[in-house]
Point group: C2
Chain length 328, copies 2
């Protein structure tokens, strides 16, 4: 079976994103190298526009809309970074956006999403109850009623190709790598990154990292088919997915070496590491890949290792509570 995207798609996405997305820095830490025995290269997508890699995929998808699609606009359902990413990409391309968000989404994310929509007629945030309503059904119904194009958060070739530009840039910036660590929610980021990384460094080992409580992709790889789990209880809210996508899972199965898992306590320790040693704010989901390495789930001594730091969007009060609670 052929995969949904190839390296050419990632390269084309990189051209669309040039001058629009941030070419985020790759940072080193002597302490991280000491702890892990590896040479670690952190790709800082917490410094990306909207504070997370999601902008890459969203913009790459919307930039390929035809004239009719642009006029009608885009619809997305997301509790977090994908919502802001679509809203900002729509703003930059001058099209309306409708974002379906849970009514208990963090106030800062709601406000940011609405901010991007200002002055674009036809744009709105539609709230739903995440415990009783089905956001996908709401999204599909609105898309049909309004003639808008639904862009899902991960299972879409243009989204996957856009996210893959993070790995493309990282390898351009850091040079060849022996391993690449990427967090896994629905699989959009890791599938795009795996395609780019394997094209540039065929011998690279791409490792996914999931929260212990939400290891659906790990289970899926073991069983050879997509496993559905109940919404996992974890502080990594960007990885609270119940299953990977059809398109993303096919890429993961073909190109990913394996999936490691980390606990919430290890995520907090890694948030503290980033704050204390690298002076960076990283959201729990953004710590998944680094935590697997720094907390010992993966031993990559002697290797040149890329780590995607996927985002930094976390409510400040929650962030303070997580990092301020004494030694983790």
């Amino acid at each position: 079976m052929s995969l949904a995207i190839g390296f050419d798609d990632v390269r084309a996405a990189a051209q669309r994103l040039a001058g629009v997305a941030e070419r985020t820095p790759v940072r080193r830490s002597r302490r991280a190298d000491e702890i892990t025995g590896a040479q670690v290269f952190f790709k800082c997508e917490n410094f990306q526009r909207i504070g997370a890699f999601k902008f890459r995929g969203a913009y790459n998808a919307l930039a390929q809309f035809g004239p009719e699609q642009r006029r009608a606009g885009v619809i997305a359902f997301s509790s977090g970074n994908h919502a802001q990413a679509i809203a900002l990409a729509a703003r930059l391309l001058g099209m309306p956006s409708v974002i379906v968000m849970p009514h208990d989404a963090p106030p800062a994310k709601l406000a940011a999403t609405r901010g991007y929509q200002q002055g674009l007629p036809g744009s709105e945030v539609v709230l739903y109850d995440r415990y009783t309503e089905d956001r996908e059904a709401i999204g599909r119904r609105l898309a049909e009623q309004r003639g808008m194009t639904l862009i899902p958060p991960y299972d879409h070739p243009h989204v996957m190709a856009g996210q893959g530009t993070a790995a493309l840039e990282l390898i351009e910036q850091a040079g060849a790598l022996d391993a690449l660590l990427v967090c896994v929610g629905g699989g959009g980021l890791i599938s795009g990154c795996a395609v780019a990384a394997k094209a540039l460094c065929p011998a690279i080992a791409v490792h996914g990292v999931e929260p212990e409580a939400g290891n659906d992709t790990q289970l899926s790889l073991q069983r050879g088919e997509i496993v559905h789990i109940p919404t996992p209880q974890t502080i990594a809210d960007g990885a609270q997915t119940q299953h990977s996508g059809q398109l993303t899972f096919a890429v993961i199965r073909a190109l990913v070496a394996g999936i490691a898992t980390v606990s919430d306590a290890q995520l907090v320790a890694t948030m503290r590491f980033f704050a204390e040693r690298m002076k960076m704010v990283v959201e729990p989901t953004g710590c998944l890949a680094a935590a697997a390495l720094l907390e010992g789930a993966l031993d990559l001594r002697g290797a040149r290792v890329g780590v995607i730091v996927s985002g930094g969007n976390v409510d400040l009060a929650r962030y303070a509570a997580l990092i301020g609670g004494g030694p983790a």
Copy 2:
């Protein structure tokens, strides 16, 4: 009266620091530009080695020791970043260091300082009581007894020249600037930066920023002589100096346009801005320059403005308490 340093000293310092100090990134923020109406370039010295600009001056000073001085080693008194900077510079140059620190210094800073001293015979941390003892007297006595060279935290030409490399790099990275904002404690950073900035952009306006509660340099400029004040009560612990130095004040009087002041509440608001919008951990003192611009003490609409973000060393529990306390 000729100044203690010239631009050649800063350039020579930059050569000594090449490949040793971080060439820290210059970051932008669309939101900062919106708020201020200026183009703002943040020089991120919180990403410098030891987490603050102080490494520049310390290394530049120690790298100029003669063979005898190296053998005997260096002594410094500091409650914070200067201590770690001297200890790390001494380690890199293989010389002993004695650091005189208050017994109630943050545990993380004590531990980091001792960590750098490990394996270097003759190195130690000497604790004193900051309410009853005079650290300068202790430092001078130990220097004499042990034949070590005392490097003061700011009033020293090599320290000043080293700190000036931050502005030199910033202007190399960002291009010509109309204004440069720098925090003021003892004046080491601003004096070095002013010399570099005025040499590269003769029309630049260099503004110092002090905490409201500790505006000794502002008073000194008004009176035309160095004013001493009681230890100021402010969260900007790096600017709790009672007076500027002889050498630094002469440069400030000659080259600095003026001194703005900001309140602790404005520093907290700026810490939150950096965390929320730029995903960076910045210590209170490191927020002084940015706070003057973001919180409206200085109106630099239309200008290209450099802002030195001087450091990011803050105890995590204290940081969490400061940023987590609801809207500032």
